[in-house]
Amino acid sequence: MSAVATYTLRLGDDALVAAQRLAGWISRAPELEEDLALANIALDLLGQARSLLTYAGSFDGRSEDDLAYLRDEREFCNVQFVELPNGDFGMTIARMLFFSAYQYLLYDRLSGSADPTLAAVAARAVKEVAYHRDHAVQWTLRLGDGTDESHVRMQAALEACWPYTAELFESDALTREVAAAGVGVDPGTFSPQWASFVDGILKEATLTVPVLPARVTGGRRGIHTEHMGYLLAEMQYLRRSYPEDTEW
């Protein structure tokens, strides 16, 4: 695959797997309004994934469905961060805070890409992600600066997610190549902005920025956590069982 195709696939897989995880909250959120919120955020992410996978597949004649449903675990190149189980509500909010802050900075820069398709997807998506980030920030403030119980659980959630965030900002030969061509963004270049944003929010929420070592990474190379196989089994089961009858 070309560098642009692989780069696009990475972003598409992040959005797809994050959407699948969030969709797991449907009918299980703490209140109806939150059920709608999480479902709609999942829908936005799924929309981003569809555009990105469609574009990635266009380089070698694969459809968005081929890419979503017919690849095996080792062929997915999302970061491990997005595949972690939902945990409690605090864990989901912590992940949404970290992930939407990351996606916001990424798409904001990518909207200036020399690749017109990536630029268009990013320009549309950054507005959606701004609203997701806003939502995660409001909840982080409420839970962090809420009751003793909500504070403890929010802090625990931050610490559970934190070791996986380093992977979001990993640079490699591919990100450097697409960044040099003005087509993609090297995520390492905006990690200081991310850290400063997260820092400000956590302080205001009376929470503490975790000091924990990064976990072993590898999602971009197809190495995933033990949770990924279960996620794919659920997501891909129907299409693989009834290959003739299902088209999404």
Partner: protein, 176 residues
Amino acid sequence: MVTAEEVRELVAAVPDPEIPVLTIGDLGVLRTVDVGDSGRVEVTITPTYTGCPAMEAIRADIETSLRRHGIDDVSVRTVLAPAWTTDWMSESGRRKLAEFGIAPPAHPARPALGPAPGPAQGPGPGRVPVPVELAVRCPRCGSFDTLVVSRWGSTACKAQYRCTACLEPFDYFRVH
């Protein structure tokens, strides 16, 4: 042979599947209509949201409507750029929304999100993004005394509000 203007009028009149009081012309998702030399019609539309599930229905409705008028050779393309914003909604669309009981977008969309927060202007308490949907007018009694109930409503493009004057809940087509 039909002209592009005639076809555009037909396409613009197709109702939005989620908010049927609006046409896709009102909503501003119809970008262009071209008629080729062979009579082939090419319509381009743009989604209100990347994942807007109504796009498939809109595409099918456009094809059905044109077929009913004897136009069979139709292709409907979806384009993402320039991104749709609520500013594309027509004045008559805003009026129809309010009459239907949905508060229309309360102010123009932010032109662009501008530079992402960097260290120089980094986040402090003053930079925490707070919802900017201030002063939404109740479509029933006209009061501005309204509260957000939920930041998302029955669809991704709406939020749920409640009027503290007449006490009725209502949908708000939020600015985006």
